[in-house]
Point group: C2
Chain length 114, copies 2
DNA sequence: CTGATTGTTAGCCATGAGACTAACTATCAT
DNA sequence: ATGATAGTTAGTCTCATGGCTAACAATCAG
């Protein structure tokens, strides 16, 4: 099971549309900073902050060669998030059995003014 | 495909450990505000803000009966997030074919200081 | 060396998140 | 009515986020 803080950072990273778009674009293959930044109506330094967050969160890797920095997706970085969601779904499904049971206790309560 | 803003709010909601814990707890069945709040070392108003965020984000539903507010999970609320991740994964896997190709272009570059 | 390209750093600013206390409302029990 | 219980509202505080400009560093082309 992933650490709480890891999930915090992961979901936090995914909570931004710019960063999700970056990931989606990188999914098609590596790209340079300038190429990545082009579609966004945003100053470069602002954009770099997003890249840094993604890198800090382990979602991408970057390497610099000359003045060109190339960004690559870190496949598998999303795994902890998927795992958490899967756990949730299993719990929810397990709960279905008990739902009817719970509803029964409600109608048996001392007062239902409907 | 889910809207960007919907995903923003969804992932933002999941980026907090308190809120994830609330969801995990609710996965076992509905609970009242006080019951939910008990395990957290946090003032009630602070806790309520989390509940409100979850409700605003459509992750939970709440109903009040007398002075008791009962919170319930909204099953399926996580679906857009799961869908986005699944899309990502498909893209990544599709990319694998082209990875070797890409690496080939690198080694053919003007300079590899390896 | 000069200048363009590519990225980086530093510093500023507005906003929102997430916590708190204090005071309040509404319900239930007696 | 009184008081306890359950939740709410209002207002404050601090810090992180995400944007900007301006200036800088480093590399490549000529």
């Amino acid at each position: 099971m992933a650490n709480n803080q890891e999930l915090d950072a992961l979901f936090q990273n995914l909570a931004d549309p710019t960063r999700r778009a970056i990931l989606a674009r990188l999914a098609h293959g590596p790209a340079t900073v300038t190429d990545l930044a082009a579609p966004f109506d945003m100053a470069l330094p602002s954009f770099l902050q997003h890249l840094r967050k993604l890198e800090d969160g382990g979602l991408i890797e970057t390497t610099k060669q000359g003045r060109i920095r190339t960004c690559t997706l870190r496949v598998g970085a999303l795994a902890p998030a998927r795992t958490w969601m899967e756990e949730q779904r299993l719990l929810w499904e397990g709960r279905h059995d008990r739902l009817e049971d719970y509803l029964a206790t409600l109608t048996k309560g001392p007062d239902d003014h409907g």
